[in-house]
Assembly symmetry: C3
Homo-oligomer: 139 residues x 3
């Protein structure tokens, strides 16, 4: 079975959608593999700690240090500038964070660890509506 998850974002943050996926998989409780693909090049998928929200804030701050906005003094070498100072760093972050994820499923339950949540990581500043294509293959 398949569907598309729509996630509305309002600036850089980790948007959890574990519960939406869990509810969907429970409609057909079987064994298999879930595949997720984010259909954009300036946001990412991520499995990360779901306990202390500081972890997500620190992650975003670190990514900003690895790939600062194009108008930062250290980024004078960037050539792709016409979509705003947050666009090229968004593509850079999207290159090193996952674009697709696969999760084993048992009896309709994702086999995530206790501290793992499923996130859409938005890298752009403006509000966006993001699509995540999902396929569940039973086996």
């Amino acid at each position: 079975m398949k569907r598309t998850f729509l996630i509305r974002t309002s600036g850089p943050a980790c948007y959890e959608f574990t519960a939406e996926v869990r509810t969907w998989l429970e409609t057909a409780p079987s064994d298999g593999v879930l595949t997720l693909l984010v259909r954009h090049t300036s946001c990412s998928l991520l499995i990360q700690e779901n306990a202390d929200p500081d972890v997500q804030r620190d992650l975003l701050a670190w990514l900003d240090r690895l790939a600062p906005p194009s108008d930062h003094p250290s980024m004078g070498w960037i050539t792709h500038r016409h979509e705003g100072p947050d666009d090229m760093p968004a593509h850079l972050k999207a290159a090193i964070l996952p674009v697709s994820l696969q999760i084993p499923v048992e009896h309709g339950r994702m086999q995530l660890g206790q501290w793992q949540g499923l996130y859409l990581v938005e890298h752009r500043s403006a509000p966006h509506s993001r699509q995540v294509a999902a396929v569940f293959q039973s086996c």
Copy 2:
């Protein structure tokens, strides 16, 4: 169904092979999941923007700043040197960019977003012939 894609490279760049994969999937237009694995440790797979080629150039320049050649003054701590100054940074880049990708497929069409292309990212300077193992599972 399965096959291997061969991609000849001539130095660090993003080599698009979206069209080759599209043509192959159209030979059996069904629903399922495509799995790709690059069979090397000094190049990567990537889904990235397919519009402005500056994005790819900036991405490569950024990766070079994250992981400069071993003979760069900042990389004196590198120990794996006998395959040339572009080898160890190639392994480092290969660790943080994707080695495998999964793409949902509908009626033989990859469910990529409008701006997403499929690339082999070469990290080595010398010409190489790269293999990407592909499996399509219908479901």
Copy 3:
């Protein structure tokens, strides 16, 4: 078929488990796709060079430079500190290295390249017991 691999770690290193997976897949020699998911947020999966152990040492040293311990002078901005100085950098490394991997399989043999090995990369200092969920889908 499915199972969980248990990998005991004793500090940051690359722990190879290619042979364990190979042996398991040989019990049912068919074509398909192997999915692996590590069920933790402070270690990673990785496909990397299996020849020169210096490559793995250099990779770990590089990751430490990208994401130093929280008590390093350059990391004063970190807020998530109560689990020790090696915890937040472990989450950062886990964000940019793979959490899931997919490997095409032919007649029970992973289609890895000649120089590719399968690793659990431990980012924490204390000993841990790590779980990797595995599913093999024949097709």
